[in-house]
Amino acid sequence: MYIVIAGAGRLGLVLAKKLKEDKHQVCIIDKNETLCNRLARELNGMLIIYGDATYPDILKEAKIEKADVCVSAASSDEDNIIICYLAKELFGVKRTVARVNDPKHIPLYKYMKVDNPVDSTSIIARVVEEEASFTDVVNLFSIKKGRLSIVRVDIPEDSPVANKVLKDIKLPPNSVLVSILRGPDIIIPYGSTVILPGDEVIAATLINLEKNLTKKLIGKI
């Protein structure tokens, strides 16, 4: 794929290098001349363009009309929005992705039809919040920018679901038990499976319902 990245800050550079490793063609645009000169010396096989990507002639120089994706990673939200808008409306780029610097600007990205505004601040806040919470729930991994989580819950002695048959347990909507780890055994749960204290339950849940699931399985949050 051919990917144009506007903004060679930390995010832009890490992304560019990663994409290059994955054999994509990458072009970086930045408005800092010194930085561009340095990048042109240090990075091989990447097109580096010095200029303000909110101007159509600079985007044209980057051959953005040939790009499969335009990523705007500038530190100013109005610039990111304009870059994505021009890429899409003027040059017909199919997919535009932008880094959102301030979460309160997200509605503006949506109104201006940016395909994928990535709100790094909120994503990091969510991850930190999860890591900092002291429960028996461990987030194993997240899908769809953290909206769907796969969690591991250690069932305590006093759990309201301990020694109960699964079909008698009413789980919150949009949550599902994937498997039960009991000592060396991996159990794929059915309606007749009994949950025992000490079990490690692997469950999939939507992030906003995680608390409901925790409450159900542990009894407290």
């Binding site: 909110t54 101007y55 159509p56 002639d57 100013s76 939200d77 109005e78 610039d79 929005i81 304009i82 021009l86 003027l90 309160k104 600007h105 509605p107 503006l108 109104y111 201006m112």
Partner: protein
């Protein structure tokens, strides 16, 4: 009396706000308190100290009821983004924005969105001086 919102209140915005507030219902928005304080004593309107690149600010200024919105911050891209959003979301009849780049002025021009380019205006005036 028309309800007019002026976003960005240094230079052009300031003069416009002071003039219009004598006859119209004016709200000015600026992120600098200093700029807002610099409005003439007889400025007869409402001041909002806030970041213009924010839907909440736009709501707070009463954009829904506005007859006209002027975007006069020194930032072309901010003026363009907010101009488009205000036009689309609030269907304000007259949205006027200042953009210094003439190519961007051409690209973003659409019905109901008046884009003013200072250089172009001055050159037109100069031509008339001959």
């Amino acid at each position: 009396m028309k309800y007019v919102i002026i976003i960005g209140c240094s230079k052009t915005g300031k003069v416009l706000a002071e003039d219009l507030s004598a006859t119209e219902n004016v709200v000015v928005v600026d992120r600098s308190l200093k700029v807002l304080d610099s409005l003439r004593e007889d400025f007869n309107g409402k001041k909002i100290w806030a970041d213009a690149l924010d839907i909440n600010t736009i709501e707070q200024a009463g954009t829904k009821e506005a007859d006209a919105v002027f975007l006069l911050t020194g930032n072309d891209n901010l003026n363009l983004v907010m101009g488009k959003v205000i036009k689309r979301k609030y269907e304000v009849e007259k949205v006027v924005l200042q953009v210094s780049d003439s190519l961007k002025k051409r690209i973003f021009s659409e019905e109901g969105l008046t884009i003013v380019n200072r250089t172009y205006l001055i050159s037109e005036v100069l031509k008339k001086c001959i």
